[in-house]
């Protein structure tokens, strides 16, 4: 049975400390919400080719909208390049976009270009990156979610300064009113008598009443603004999710209900397929047994999805569901908890429901997981196969995690990999407290479905057609193959968003079988 309230996982540390500037001139921290399109990991990464140029892109998302996204493009070329960046909003025509901005070369960093883009509306955007050089021109669409994810607290220093200035305004204003009512109307040289002073005192009292009324109104107004902002802030997970299981013979069936509160009750939740699947569901065991499954439920009705559960052991699981909305290109990860009952006894295969052929599961106990801090840590499978996290510098937050992996056989020789749902690898990253979850691929951590949404939008509008998103089956596209026929190594572009302990699961396919390896990573704070 689902247990609501997992939203607290990503609200940790999000204590709402409203600042009461007008009344008490006391400023405190404000609330924080969660990130979306993954949980707690809002920045977007791309690795691949832009036209003829190998490139990596990092998009650092603003916490509030309207806000500025910072874009770094690292492109490889022997000659200088021109790099342009442009925000495309999902709900307006491409022709209504502003002229692209030039990303400027970063001094001292050959091949690195930097720019900023304003995201003015909430919803699905794409950052179009265009690279032009001697070898020609290339363009790529990187989908992002433009939504208020977090409310920045007021720094204590700023609060102190504002309180001081507010106090100065109050005290100064009071004395000005006193002088205005008493001394200001005296002819030059005349001195104040008691009547002038009395008038000054009365005026100060009246001004104090007016001041209190203004403070009250200001507080009321601020609360209205706060409530309006909170309405737009995606607190906790979104859309709402419930998970439950039931048995049919010897099979356990997972039933997910998505967006019952968040979407029109009479309409199906509109989804795009990502790697050919409507949903990507990760079940992650909360005990050290290390059960993990990557499943792809089927839609049973508008908001209900079901799949046959694999042979995961009984226990408590965290459920993470990745989806991309068809009407806006927004991708999101929602989550809940689930208690998995033991496998029931009964006739096998009694359910009409079949598992998706790309479903995978494994048991990766923590004890078997190597630490990323070891030199070249390797996860070893029972048959001698191993996956090695290649040498990398110590992991630090908001720095490239150096997630370069190679799969080797028991003799240490590289083993060619097969595509798994169109990718050489899928990976999941989860902070040990559940406050961060991200689904990674060699191409990046964005939704391929959302990328297709924007690519088809641009193409259709360029052809003069009315825009309607098209479905592209990325499971046939072999993203991340890096040009080699059967690579044995791959790179996952990612930066851990915060310091702490993380679990990293890496999936790949060999001999028609999906393998899942686990690593433990300790991420350090930024280097001071």
């Amino acid at each position: 049975m689902a247990r609501p309230g997992v939203g607290r996982l990503d609200e940790k540390g999000a204590t709402v400390n409203r600042l009461r500037f007008f009344l008490a001139l006391l400023f405190l921290s404000l609330s924080a919400g969660s990130a979306r399109a993954h949980i707690g990991s809002p920045d977007v990464f791309f690795d691949g080719k832009i036209g003829p140029y190998p490139a990596g892109i990092t998009i650092r998302m603003p916490a509030v909208i309207p806000g500025r996204a910072e874009i770094d493009v690292r492109a490889t070329s022997e000659h200088p390049l021109e790099v342009f960046i442009l925000p495309l909003f999902s709900k307006t025509a491409v022709k209504n976009s502003p002229p692209p901005d030039a990303a400027r070369p970063v001094p001292g960093e050959p091949g690195l270009y930097h720019g900023e883009l304003w995201l003015m509306r909430s919803g699905g955007y794409s950052v179009e990156v265009r690279v032009r050089g001697d070898a020609g021109e290339g363009v790529v669409q990187i989908p992002i979610n433009s939504e208020a994810m977090h409310q920045l607290p007021m720094p204590r220093l700023l609060a102190t300064i504002l309180i001081a200035l507010g106090g100065l305004l109050y005290v100064g204003g009071r004395e000005i009113v006193r002088a205005a009512a008493s001394e200001s109307t005296l002819p030059p040289g005349a001195t104040m008598d008691s009547s002038h002073r009395r008038r000054g005192r009365i005026a100060v009292r009246v001004a104090a009443v007016v001041c209190v009324a203004m403070i009250g109104f200001g507080r009321y107004w601020w609360n209205l603004e706060e409530a309006s902002f909170q309405g737009k802030l995606r607190k906790g997970v979104w859309p709402d999710l419930t998970a439950e299981t039931h048995s049919e013979g010897a099979q356990r069936i997972l039933r997910l209900t998505l967006g019952e509160k968040s979407f029109d009750p009479h309409r199906a939740i509109p989804l795009l397929t990502d790697h050919g699947k409507l949903l990507h569901v990760f079940l992650i065991g909360e005990r050290e047994s290390g059960g993990i499954a990557h499943l792809h439920p089927f839609r049973q009705s508008g908001k209900v999805f079901e799949t046959v559960l694999p042979q995961l052991p009984e226990g408590d699981y965290q459920v993470f569901v990745d989806l991309t909305l068809a009407d806006s290109g927004i991708s999101t990860t929602t989550t809940t908890r689930l208690h998995l009952p033991p496998v029931p006894s009964g006739p096998a295969g009694s359910s009409k429901l079949q598992a998706d052929p790309d479903d995978s599961w494994a048991s990766c106990p923590a004890a078997a997981a190597p630490s990323a801090s070891e030199p070249a840590p390797a996860y070893r499978f029972d048959d001698g196969l191993q996956i090695v996290w290649k040498s990398h510098p110590p992991l630090r937050m908001r720095r490239d995690a150096g997630m370069q992996f190679e799969v080797r056989d028991s003799a240490g020789q590289p083993v060619p990999l097969e595509p798994y749902m169109g990718m050489i690898s899928h990976a999941a990253v989860m902070r040990s407290d559940g406050s961060v979850f991200a689904h990674l691929h060699p191409a990046g951590n964005f939704s391929m479905a959302a990328q297709t949404f924007f690519e088809s939008k641009v193409a259709k509008e360029a052809a003069g057609d009315t825009f309607a998103p098209v479905e592209v089956d990325h499971s046939k596209m072999h993203h991340g193959a890096a040009g080699a026929n059967s690579p044995s190594s791959f790179y996952l572009p990612y930066e851990f968003p915060s310091a702490g302990n993380y679990h990293v699961w890496v999936q790949f396919k060999i001999g028609g079988q999906v393998r899942t390896a686990r690593f433990e990573a300790t991420v350090l704070p930024p280097q001071s």
Partner: protein, 408 residues
């Protein structure tokens, strides 16, 4: 008709006799009648006003801005100039001035300066406070694309303080010396004072909203107070009318000059691909109600105690509405016709880049009962506007009467 003259020989609420031009001591006239503080304050409020009109146009034409845009610089310059001028006056009157000059100032916390200088400095501090507050507000709630927000209101209060301080500096000079230069500075700063008020009403006052009830209620509340204040405090003939002319001139200059400069939107989505700076809408024709109010104030004299003040306020509010409603109602109708779609009236040219300009652009808003935010002009509107205008006029009479007495 004789122009109304409100120069008082005997103001009822003046408990100390004013120095007439002939009575003013030559030493005082020479040493303290210097106009440079008033001129600097006038420059400061001009810079602020130009900056804020420019900034609004920038936001709806280009969209993207930084701390360092010229419009922002103009606002900061105005704030700094007024703060520094006020600061210098405080330093001078506290430490350097001769006793007769010190006697033309008021004391606050042991320091001395003309009252207007203190008010201007207070306004500059309010503007200074609003800057980090506004910056934090953008980071906490997102960049606001509205004029009216809490930090912008604090900024507006600061600007109001500076304009009031400038008026007071000019007034104390005018009240002591009666020079023509002082009169004109007062009128000019008064026009800027009106303009600043109108800028903060921009979101409820563009022509398509000029048939709603809210428009007339807000105009009565905001403009009547300002015109009555100027009408009572001014020692020149037709003070409110002249200030209204300055206000209209400033707004017209903005309407005519801004579109001369090329500009292209740099934020999305762009529904109206403007190629030049977007002008503000043609100003409301305040000169006509201001004329009516000047006539009444001239007729009634400069003092308004007790019931007389309330009765005159009621009359001023009624006169304002009686003139303003038919004039602006019909002028708004004209502004939405193709005849006004030219550089002079800027009809249909005040839409920013984010506006889907369509057939609705030449229609009045919120006057269809089947549409949301229905806000018709009704008898209730007239009643509410009259009440708001009466309160506004009563406050203006009181404040203007006090300003008329300010000596320091």
């Amino acid at each position: 008709m004789q122009p109304p003259s409100v120069a008082p020989a005997s103001s009822l609420a003046i408990d100390q006799p004013l120095l007439t031009r002939t009575e003013a001591s030559p030493a005082l006239t020479k040493s303290t009648a210097a106009l440079w503080p008033s001129v600097l304050f006038a420059l400061a409020v001009t810079s602020i006003t130009a900056g804020i009109i420019w900034d609004i146009s920038w936001h709806i034409s280009i969209g993207r801005d930084t701390f360092w845009t010229p419009a922002h610089m103009a606002i900061y310059l105005g704030g700094m100039l007024s703060g520094m001028t006020g600061g210098w006056l405080a330093f001078y009157h506290t430490f350097l001035a001769r006793p007769e000059e010190r006697n033309q100032s008021v004391g606050i916390f042991g320091a001395r300066a003309p009252l207007g200088a203190w008010v201007s400095m207070w306004g500059a501090v309010a503007m200074l406070t609003s800057a980090p507050f506004d910056d934090w507000w953008h980071n906490a709630y997102g960049l606001d694309v509205r004029i009216i927000s809490p930090p912008h209101t604090l900024l507006g209060i600061g600007m109001l303080g500076i304009s009031v301080g400038a008026l007071l500096v000019g007034l104390s000079h005018q009240n002591r010396t009666h020079t023509r230069a002082g009169d004109w500075l007062f009128i000019y700063i008064g026009g800027v004072f009106i303009t600043l008020g109108s800028v903060f009403l921009m979101e409820v006052s563009f022509p398509n909203l000029q048939h709603t009830g809210t428009f007339y209620e807000v105009c009565a509340a905001v403009f009547v107070f300002r015109f009555v204040t100027l009408g009572v405090a001014g020692r020149i003939t037709w003070p409110a009318t002249r200030a209204a002319a300055v206000f209209i001139a400033i707004q017209c200059l903005a309407t005519w000059i801004l579109p001369l400069f090329s500009a292209h939107p740099k934020l999305a989505p762009i529904f109206n691909p403007v190629t030049h700076m977007v002008p503000p809408a043609f100003p409301v024709l305040m000169i006509f109600p201001a004329l009516a109010m000047d006539l009444i104030i001239a007729k009634m004299g400069p003092t308004y105690d007790g019931w007389k003040g309330l009765l005159v306020a009621t009359l001023l509010s009624a006169a304002f509405l009686a003139v303003f409603i038919p004039v602006q109602w019909n002028f708004a109708r004209f502004l939405l016709t193709p005849l006004a779609d030219n550089w002079f009236f800027a009809g249909n040219r005040y839409w920013g880049y984010e506006t889907h300009v369509g057939p609705w652009a030449d229609k009045f808003f919120h006057v269809d009962p089947h549409m949301p935010n229905y806000d018709p002009f009704t008898a209730r509107t007239i009643g509410l506007s009259w009440i708001a205008g009466t309160i506004s006029a009563w406050l203006g009479l009181a404040w203007g009467g006090w300003m008329r007495k300010v000596q320091r």
